[in-house]
């Protein structure tokens, strides 16, 4: 018996009106991998990611996260089980500082409860200190150290991407979902971001990423799952995928 997969997706479907955005998808994500999710526009990749994170609920099917069923849980409960995500569009807390953005992230904060808040900082000050410390380290690592007290809304697009990644890591997740992390990022930063993501894998984190930038997918992802029209079309290493005629057709012919 092998260890639990980080994610096991079984015949998951979700439609919007008459559109079958995700149509009976099944796949597994092994622990410690960077699994890429690619496919032409409208293939259902982002919907799939939102289903995994609980931002959307599937119409059918089940999703197991390290063995426990999460398909019908709200997003915050899935997050509390250790699934962190970034968003396709920048989603920073704009009128909070960079450091504060990271202070929101840690799970199970004592001071988050009303009573702890009313009773005052004695109950949570120590914890707060630990969170500041880990936030500080992450910000140094992502070259945001000089911006700790800047409002997150004032950062550049690329810096916001880095901030999102740092915020997700501050949750100390077991699995990280990245929704097009390279979108709108300049080439120099792309390779830097890719380095970071590779490092995370080295630290034992499981990553699932939707990405259009093929160079990055090629470099980071193994295996790669190809989606088209809401279904899983192919699965395997990038070399296998490239040799698969169905994939080539799907990409060349688009959605139809």
């Amino acid at each position: 018996m092998t260890e639990n997969p980080a994610l096991r997706v079984t015949r998951v479907s979700r439609s919007f009106g008459g559109v079958h955005a995700v149509d009976g998808c099944s796949f597994e994500v092994r622990q410690g991998t960077i699994t890429g999710l690619i496919g032409p526009n409208g293939a259902g990749k982002s919907t799939m990611l939102n289903l995994l994170a609980g931002a959307l609920r599937p119409d059918q099917g089940s999703i197991h996260f390290f063995g426990s069923e999460i398909a019908h849980l709200p997003a915050f409960r899935i997050a509390r089980q250790g699934m962190a995500r970034t968003f396709q569009l920048s989603s920073e807390f704009a009128r909070m500082t960079v450091l504060e953005n990271l202070m929101v992230a840690p799970l199970h904060q004592r001071g988050d409860s009303l009573w702890a808040a009313v009773l005052g900082p004695r109950a949570w000050r120590r914890e707060e200190r630990d969170h500041v410390e880990s936030a500080w380290r992450l910000l140094q690592r992502f070259n945001l150290g000089h911006l700790v007290h800047e409002y997150a809304g004032n950062l550049s697009g690329g810096q916001k991407r880095l901030l999102e990644l740092a915020r997700a890591l501050q949750m100390k997740p077991r699995l990280l979902l990245l929704d097009e992390p390279m979108a709108g990022v300049n080439p120099a930063l792309i390779s830097q971001l890719a380095d970071y993501i590779a490092e995370l894998k080295g630290e034992g984190l499981t990553v699932v990423m939707v990405e259009h930038e093929m160079g990055t997918v090629e470099r980071l992802c193994d295996p790669v799952i190809v989606m088209a029209q809401g279904r899983v079309l192919a699965e395997g290493s990038m070399a296998e995928i490239r040799a698969n005629p169905a994939v080539v057709t799907a990409y060349l012919s688009g959605q139809r």
Partner: protein, 343 residues
């Protein structure tokens, strides 16, 4: 000071204290949790009404010249205030469950506006609940019998009570604002989907903000009604809600000091101050519309030139913790970790 002036000053200060509570409660709901609750003044009113209902004696039948209302339990002070706070919290929760659960921003605002208006019309048009448009009168002043003070001295005591409650609300709000709880609320304000992705139970946190804000508003309403001894539907309606919103926006949304300043400037300063307009060259009929014009203009000016308010929300810098950490990192420099730029 002549007695009349003293009375006026005390009245103004009591009015200020109550309004500080109103704006603080709204700061929790709107300033931190971003719930555009246009039924806010209903929470103030329900506090006033319930405090009145439980402190008055039993209702007398209408046939014998009495009025109709619920309860009439003759509760001793401060129980009426506690009842008010509780009902404010419960009503806020109801509004929240109805409106906040499914609706966002502008839709939420419209829904709460309607909830407020429906409540208002129901209250006014149903005499058996709280005596309709005539409202409740003769609400006894708290502890007046027990203390048995001369009227003027009693007013000072009452002012002390109001300011005490206002201070308590302020301290509570400061604690909430500067805790991880308040930080989570602000995160929800900025982006509720990201907040949920960080494991925050958005609905629950918002409901807590609704309830505590509602309780503060209702207690303020109770203290206000007990001071003037009467409560009618005409005292509160949609425009009063906007005065509180204006106060918070002018003072500084998300900043409790701003809320206090806004309460002093807008409801007290502009509404009361306009009494001092020279009556001989302004048509007295114009005074009331002029107040609203002034408040509206001030709001527009602030939104245009200083949208974050007079006291903007401060940046949290974690100075103390960072200072401690710098020391820690300094000591570990000689240890296992290498110097990495340091400061």
């Amino acid at each position: 000071m002549s007695d009349a002036v003293t009375y006026y000053v005390i009245t103004l200060l009591v009015y200020m204290g109550c309004n500080v509570m109103f704006v603080l409660g709204l700061n929790l709901q709107f300033g931190l949790a971003n719930i555009i609750n246009f039924s806010y003044y209903i929470l103030v009113a329900v506090g006033g009404y319930f405090a009145g209902l439980v402190v008055l004696g039993p209702a007398q039948p209408v046939e014998s010249g009495g009025t109709e209302y619920l309860f009439g339990w003759t509760l001793p002070w401060p129980l009426p205030v506690a009842v008010a706070g509780l009902t404010g919290a419960v009503l806020a929760l109801l509004v929240g469950v109805i409106a906040v659960r499914r609706l966002r921003s502008d839709y939420l605002a419209v829904a709460t506006l309607v909830v407020g208006d429906v409540t208002w019309l129901l209250t006014g048009n149903t005499t058996s609940l709280v005596n309709g448009w005539n409202g409740l009168t003769g609400i006894p002043q708290p502890l007046a019998d027990t203390l048995n003070l001369p009227q003027l001295q009693y007013q000072w005591v009452y002012l002390g009570i109001v300011l005490g409650f206002a201070l308590l609300s302020f301290l509570l709000m400061q604690r909430l604002t500067h805790s991880p709880f308040g930080r989570s609320l602000r995160a929800i304000r900025e982006n509720e989907y990201t907040a949920a992705a960080c494991g925050k139970d958005v609905f629950r946190l918002r409901m807590m903000a609704m309830m505590i804000g509602g309780a503060i508003a209702a207690v303020g309403g109770a203290l206000f009604i007990e001071f003037i001894g009467t409560v009618q539907p005409s005292m509160w309606n949609v425009p009063e809600t906007f005065v509180i919103f204006a106060a918070l926006i002018v003072g500084g949304r998300g900043n409790n000091w701003g809320a206090v300043l806004g309460a002093i400037l807008v409801p007290v300063g502009f509404l009361e101050g306009s009494r001092l307009l020279p009556q001989d060259w302004i048509d007295p009929n114009l005074i009331d519309p002029l107040r609203w014009i002034i408040i509206g203009s001030v709001l527009i000016l602030v939104l245009y030139f200083r949208p974050q308010g007079i006291f903007p929300e401060p940046k949290r810098r974690f100075r103390r913790i960072l200072r401690q950490l710098a020391i820690d990192e300094g000591t570990s420099l000689t240890g296992k970790r290498k110097a990495g730029g340091g400061r």
